[in-house]
C-alpha cells in the first residue's frame, strides 16, 4: 500500500491569542526575580565602589589574573602534550598499554582536583630527602610548579578522553579509503583523520579549558597568589564580600573571551561545511 502525499488543504493555524496562563505568569515572575537579583548585584557593586580599595587591591587582583592566565595556559599546553601518548594508549589494541592509559585517565578523572593538588604539594613535602637527592626539590618546593604539574596531569586525562573519543567517532570508511589510496599511516592520521576528529573535539576542548580556568582557583589554597588567592587576600583584609563578586565577574569575563575565541575557531574549522 502506498501513500501519496495529497496537497495539504489545511490552512496554517491562526495565530493564537496569548493568554495569561498560570505557567506564563509564573515564568514572568521568576524572570523578574532573576532580573531583580542581577540588578541588586550591579547596584551593590556601584554603591559599594570604593576607590581606596580599588587602588589598594586593584594591582594585586590584576597580577592575580595574570598568574591565573599563565597557570591555565601552561597546564593546558603541557596537558595536551602529555595527552598524546595517553591517546595512543587508549586507542591501542595491546591490553597492557591500553590498561595503563585507561588506569591513568580513570585515576585523574575519578578523584577531585583538590585532593590531587594536596597530594602533590604536601605529598612531595614528605619526600624532600629523596627529591633533593634526585635534584627535583627545586621544582616541587615551589607551589606554582606543583600546581602546574598537578593541573597538567589532570587535564591530560580529560584531553586524552576527548581526543580518543573524537578519533573513534571518525567513520571507519575514512580509514579504509585512505588505505585504498595507499596513504602512509602518518599521512592518514594527520591529513585525513585528525582534521575531522578535531572538529568533533573542539567544543569539548573549549569546555575543558573553561573548567580548568575555574579549577585553577584551587591553586590559591597551596599559597599560589592567583586571581582567587589575591581575592582571598583582599577579603582577609577588608571582610568586604564585594571582592568575591568582582572576582566572579572577572572569571566570567575571562570565560566569555574564551567562548568567543572558540566560536571563531569553530567557524574557521567548519568553513567547508557551511552552505
Amino acid at each position: 500500500m502506498t501513500y501519496i502525499d495529497a496537497p495539504s488543504t489545511e490552512r496554517p493555524p491562526a495565530a493564537r491569542r496569548r493568554t495569561w496562563t498560570s505557567a506564563r505568569v509564573t515564568g514572568l515572575v521568576l524572570m523578574m526575580l532573576w532580573a531583580a537579583l542581577g540588578l541588586s548585584i550591579v547596584y551593590m557593586l556601584v554603591v559599594g565602589y570604593d576607590p581606596e580599595k580599588v587602588t589598594k587591591y586593584g594591582p594585586r587582583i590584576l597580577s592575580g589574573i595574570w598568574v591565573t592566565v599563565k597557570l591555565v595556559a601552561m597546564s593546558i599546553v603541557l596537558g595536551a602534550l602529555i595527552s598524546i601518548p595517553v591517546v595512543i594508549g587508549r586507542l591501542s589494541h595491546n591490553p597492557i598499554i591500553g590498561g595503563i592509559a585507561f588506569g591513568y585517565s580513570y585515576f585523574f578523572r575519578g578523584t577531585p582536583l583538590l585532593a590531587q593538588t594536596f597530594l602533590v604539594y604536601y605529598g612531595a613535602g614528605q619526600f624532600t630527602d629523596v627529591l633533593k637527592a634526585a635534584g627535583l626539590w627545586v621544582f616541587f618546593r615551589d607551589a606554582y610548579f606543583c600546581a602546574v604539574f598537578t593541573f597538567s596531569l589532570n587535564t591530560a586525562a580529560y584531553q586524552a578522553e576527548i581526543l580518543a573519543g573524537a578519533i573513534r567517532a571518525v567513520p571507519s570508511g575514512q580509514w579504509q579509503a585512505a588505505d585504498a589510496l595507499g596513504l602512509r599511516p602518518f599521512t592518514t592520521m594527520f591529513k585525513v583523520i585528525l582534521p575531522q576528529a578535531l572538529i568533533t573535539a573542539l567544543r569539548p576542548y573549549g569546555n575543558e579549558v573553561i573548567l580548568m580556568i575555574k579549577g585553577s582557583a584551587i591553586a590559591s589554597i597551596i599559597t599560589v597568589l592567583d586571581l582567587m588567592g589575591q581575592t582571598r587576600y583582599a577579603f582577609s583584609k577588608t571582610y568586604d564580600l564585594q571582592i568575591y563578586i568582582w572576582a566572579a565577574v572577572i572569571y566570567l569575563l575571562t570565560v566569555e573571551v574564551l567562548r568567543r575565541l572558540w566560536e571563531m575557531m569553530e567557524r574557521r574549522l567548519t568553513r567547508h561545511l557551511r552552505r
Binding site: 604536601y122 612531595a124 613535602g125 614528605q126 599559597t223 582571598r232 587576600y233 582577609s236 571582610y239 564580600l241
Partner: protein
C-alpha cells in the same frame, strides 16, 4: 490620605520592632571557634571541640547565666560568619586589632601571649629582626596579626599565608618555609610534639600595639554592645573568682592573661 496613614502606621510598627530588637534578652548565645589552633582550640579525637578558648567560653557563659552553643568555623570565614549572624560571639584566640575593630567589636582581652618565630633546626637564622629574616620565606596563618606583622615589619621577607596553622607547620617541616610566625604558646606546644621535632624556637617577637593589639578578646557584632559588656564583665568575674586560674592551670604553667 488613607495610604499615608497606612505608611505612618507601618513606620511606627517598624520603629517599635527595631527598638524591641536592641533590648533583646540574651538567653542563648552561639559562639564560634576554629578548632585548629591547639592548645587554645582544637577538635579532640572524639570529635569534640576542646581547648583553652572552649573552656573559657563555657566558663563565661556560666558566669553570664546564658545557654551556650559552641560551633566550629574556618578561620578565614570567622568574621563574615559573625556578621552574617551564624553565631553571636567569637572565642577563637582572635586578637583585638585595629583592622578588625573597623568591622566588629571586642570585649576586654581574656589572654595575651607574645608572638614568636620558629625555624627548622639547621637554620642559619640568628634572630628575629627584619635583617635576620631578610630574603627568607616566612609562613603564617592567613588573616592573622602574625601575617600582618610579617607583611608590615619584615618587609625584606617573603610572606606565605595558609588557611590553617596545620599547613604552615607541614611546609615548615618539609623545608618550603625558612621560618614561621605565630603565637609563642601555640608554637612551643607544637615544638613539643613529634611533628614539631623538625624545628626550634628562634626567638620572641616584641609585640607592636598597632598590629598585635592588647591581646585576644571575644569578638561581637558592633550593634551588640550589651553582649560585649556582658562578656567583659564575665571575664573580670572569672578572673576574680578563681575559675580563670583553674582553666589556666589545666593548660599552662604560667599566667597567659599577660600584663
Amino acid at each position: 490620605m488613607k495610604f499615608a496613614k497606612t505608611l505612618v502606621t507601618a513606620a511606627a510598627l517598624l520603629a517599635l520592632s527595631l527598638g524591641g530588637a536592641s533590648a533583646k534578652e540574651w538567653k542563648k548565645v552561639v559562639i564560634g571557634t576554629e578548632g585548629a589552633y591547639p592548645p587554645f582550640n582544637y577538635v579532640d579525637t572524639d570529635g569534640k571541640l576542646k581547648g583553652f578558648d572552649v573552656d573559657i567560653a563555657l566558663a563565661l557563659c556560666e558566669e553570664m547565666k546564658v545557654e551556650c552553643e559552641i560551633v566550629a568555623q574556618d578561620w578565614d570565614g570567622m568574621i563574615p560568619a559573625l556578621l552574617a549572624g551564624k553565631f553571636d560571639g567569637i572565642i577563637a584566640s582572635m586578637s583585638i586589632t585595629p583592622e578588625r575593630k573597623k568591622v566588629i567589636d571586642f570585649s576586654e582581652k581574656y589572654y595575651n601571649t607574645p608572638p614568636a618565630i620558629v625555624a627548622p633546626k639547621d637554620t642559619d637564622i640568628k634572630g628575629v629582626t627584619p635583617e635576620d629574616l631578610a630574603g627568607k620565606t616566612v609562613g603564617a596563618q592567613v588573616s592573622t596579626m602574625h601575617a600582618d606583622y610579617v607583611e608590615k615589619k619584615l618587609t625584606e621577607s617573603e610572606l606565605k599565608t595558609y588557611p590553617t596553622a596545620d599547613e604552615y607547620k607541614l611546609d615548615l617541616a618539609n623545608g618550603r618555609l625558612d621560618a614561621a610566625n605565630d603565637d609563642s604558646v601555640v608554637l612551643s606546644e607544637w615544638l613539643k610534639t613529634e611533628a614539631g621535632a623538625c624545628c626550634k624556637l628562634v626567638g620572641m617577637v616584641t609585640p607592636v600595639l598597632e598590629i598585635h593589639g592588647p591581646g585576644a578578646g571575644v569578638g561581637v557584632r558592633k550593634e551588640d554592645t550589651d553582649l560585649r559588656d556582658m562578656f567583659s564583665a564575665a571575664i573580670k568575674a572569672i578572673r576574680a573568682n578563681g575559675k580563670y586560674q583553674e582553666i589556666n592551670k589545666k593548660y599552662f604553667d604560667f599566667d597567659v592573661y599577660g600584663g
